[in-house]
């Protein structure tokens, strides 16, 4: 596991093993974060050449702010995917946090800083429920979070009770759509801070390394003295917490929330797509949050480009689907140890180079 997953934050230092025998293009594909940055820039430049409005300051700032709820969710989703889990309920955790904080803001004009701990606490509570079910009821995570997705949607609707959040204090709008300096929106701050903190935690703390260990081989991790149950519960709890933060980010960015916020936009599925595009796999123990964060930005730029290039808006989710397919193909062959091009060439000659059910040796 350690060989091809120096997990995060090392984009500048390519691992020596892959550098020895790959072409420059192959190395680029291996460094997922770098590849995504390049792809994002390519999409951006091409679209800007066609539609000059794309590259102007207001639009860049808007896109950065617009991608943040998804980016924060994707960071949380990554943590769960690292331990072989999946969290479908992030959409409604986001929704619950958005409407709960939204009504307080609308009715009492509470400040964003008061709402922050509330959103985090809500997320922690809901995420903890997910984790407890996964660990103690031993139900597969996809089923647990499918159930809680529905239950939390009910909580969101109970909070709303035919009302919607339509007016929030102007300080919220300033924070959600204003610029800190130049084209850098305020919204980028929580996104980057969260990503950096989680990246550091995954890379440098015992908890982070335990996540990778449990994801790669839970049995071995248990034998090595890691409290597997506690690590699993903490992963779902942190994911929930970040989804709660994502809800607050959603609220300040859109200045509105109702009973379908989150659920209606399939943001949970987009967050899973961002995680996979960012290079983390569902089989656990591989990947990192920096890739997921950049992938969320990449998805945002792509979606906006689809709109600006005059392609009907309906094809926006198809773009995400195609990117997801491409990403899992690349992930698959990186895991196999072959370069993507070797593997594809093998396929085209009718000789798949992978044995049945083979994964990375663990």
């Amino acid at each position: 596991m350690t060989a091809d997953s120096p997990p995060i934050g090392r984009a500048a230092v390519a691992p020596a093993t892959s550098a020895t025998r790959s072409s420059p293009l192959g190395r680029l594909v291996r460094r997922r974060e770098l590849l995504l940055v390049v792809l994002t820039l390519v999409v951006f430049v091409v679209t800007d050449a066609v539609n000059s409005g794309f590259g102007q300051g207001g639009y860049i700032s808007f896109m950065l702010a617009d991608a943040m709820p998804l980016a924060i969710l994707a960071v949380g989703q990554t943590i769960v995917c690292l331990v072989r889990g999946i969290d479908l309920s992030v959409a409604t955790v986001l929704g619950v946090a958005a409407v709960a904080t939204g009504f307080l803001a609308q009715d009492y004009g509470s400040s964003v800083w008061l709402m922050l701990p509330l959103a985090l606490a809500l997320g922690i509570g809901l995420g903890l429920i997910n984790g407890l079910f996964v660990v103690f009821a031993r139900i597969p995570p996809i089923i647990v979070t499918l159930g809680t997705l529905i239950v939390y949607l009910g909580i969101q609707q109970l909070i709303c009770n035919t009302r919607t959040v339509v007016t929030v204090p102007t300080s919220y709008a300033t924070f959600g759509n204003g610029n800190l300096v130049g084209d850098i929106p305020y919204m980028l701050v929580p996104g980057v801070v969260v990503t950096v903190i989680v990246a550091f935690a995954l890379w440098r703390t015992t908890w982070g390394r335990a996540l990778y260990a449990v994801g790669a081989n839970a049995e071995a991790a248990f034998r090595a003295g890691i409290r597997v149950n506690w690590v699993l519960i903490s992963a779902y709890t942190v994911c929930g917490m970040l989804a709660g933060l994502g809800g607050l980010a959603w609220l300040v960015h859109y200045d509105s929330a109702d009973y379908t916020t989150g659920f209606a936009t399939n943001i949970n599925l987009y967050s899973i797509a961002a995680v996979l595009i960012g290079g983390t796999t569902l089989t656990g123990g591989k990947g990192g949050v920096v890739g997921s964060f950049i992938a969320a930005l990449f998805l945002e730029v792509t979606i906006q480009a689809v709109v600006l290039l005059g392609i009907p808006e309906a094809w926006e989710s198809a773009a995400v689907g195609i990117l997801l397919l491409a990403a899992i193909l690349v992930n698959r062959y990186q895991a196999s140890g072959h370069s993507l091009f070797q593997a594809l060439a093998g396929h085209l000659r009718g000789r798949p180079q992978l044995e049945h059910g083979s994964g990375p040796a663990q």
Binding site: V135, Q157, G284, G321, L324, L329
Partner: protein
């Protein structure tokens, strides 16, 4: 030779069958309790009694297409995969059929062609999954996105409507003798078909074996990829058929029902006792579970319970029933009390919970 072979079924296998059957029996008990509860508690639930179109039989029109989707996904889940694209597939098929019809095609030809194209899409997804050895969860998630886009783009600003009356009647709102909805009969036929396929054909046994242990199935000479691809084709076809029923019921193609169809369908399959990792379960359980879930919504609504609590109850039912099922599952060995204690025993190594279809 053959006689001892039959009697030599291992005790493990006998218990497995018992567990599945016990689960179906509990589901039947839950269904009966639910119907009795609504019968005594909700005066309007039966409407004008058995003969009326507003009775619980009439209510079944609101959920039977979800049950059809559940039957389709069930094949895929039996094989240890999952298909998230079914909701979008049903929407896409409805739009496809309606657009073909508007383009001048006979409605029944359009139906057949739509089902064939759906099977083809299932084939493509299955080929991608098996040939490149990708996770079905992700490939079908991508399929969902793409089909959803295709449906919305194809239908344009206005959803197609004005379908022939005989089509809407046969697949949608029609009844037999004013009592039994056509959809119920169609669902009964499909459910019987699914039971025969899974439990009585060679393909069905291979399907379950592939889900139970993919490697063992491969060594036993089962063509694992072919079996899985067929499951995806069945799933896509069932979902497409459900989409046609939706178009017939609402009189227009609906592309907006994707997640609202998918989640209850998977809930029904899992609640019905089919192992989410494949290889265990009974079709009868899925059928009963889909009725439990289906009647829960109109029943609670007519009972005066709010929309919100009604929806939540489905999620709660899923989580609670699976927790109970896990604790009472005798396959894990030990007494009930030992199993319960094992849940909270930190000394026991935890089996890694995995997403479906991880190798």
């Amino acid at each position: 030779m053959s006689v001892p072979a039959e009697t030599q079924t291992s005790p493990h296998e006998v218990r497995r069958l018992d567990t599945d059957k016990r689960w179906v029996l509990s589901l039947v008990a839950i269904l009966v309790a639910e119907l009795l509860f609504f019968n005594f508690g909700v005066s309007t639930f039966w409407g004008g009694g058995w003969g009326s179109s507003v009775s619980m039989l009439g209510d079944s029109e609101t959920f039977l297409f979800t049950s059809v989707i559940a039957l389709g996904v069930m094949f895929v889940i039996f094989a240890g995969d999952i298909d998230l694209s079914v909701g979008a597939m049903s929407g896409f098929a409805g739009v496809m059929m309606a657009e073909f019809h508007i383009g001048g095609m006979n409605i029944w030809v359009a139906v057949v062609i739509s089902l064939l194209i759906a099977a083809l899409i299932g084939l493509i997804q299955g080929l991608i999954i098996t040939y490149f050895k990708l996770e079905s969860l992700l490939v079908t998630l991508a399929g969902w996105f793409i089909l959803q886009s295709a449906a919305v783009a194809w239908e344009g600003p206005a959803p197609p409507y004005n379908l022939p009356k005989h089509f809407e009647s046969l697949l949608g709102t029609g009844t037999i003798g004013g009592t039994v909805p056509n959809q119920l009969v169609i669902f009964a036929i499909l459910a019987l078909l699914a039971m025969l396929i899974v439990h009585r054909t060679r393909f069905g046994r291979r399907l379950v074996l592939v889900g139970y242990n993919r490697d063992a199935a491969g060594y036993a000479g089962v063509r694992v990829s072919v079996t899985r691809i067929r499951a995806f084709m069945l799933s896509a076809t069932f979902a497409a058929f459900a989409g046609l029923c939706i178009a017939a019921t609402y009189g227009t193609a609906r592309d907006d029902l994707g997640p609202t169809l998918l989640l209850p369908a998977i809930t029904a399959v899992v609640l019905g006792g089919v192992d989410i990792f494949g290889g265990a379960g009974l079709v009868a359980g899925v059928v009963v579970a889909s009725f439990i879930l289906g009647w829960l919504t109109p029943g609670l609504l007519q009972d005066g319970v709010g929309d919100t609590v009604t929806n939540m109850s489905i999620g709660v039912l899923l989580l609670v029933s699976l927790t109970v099922k896990g604790i009472t599952d005798r396959r894990q060995g030990g007494s009930f009390r030992e199993r319960l204690r094992g849940r909270f025993d930190t000394a026991a190594p935890t089996a890694p919970p995995t997403a479906p279809d991880t190798p």
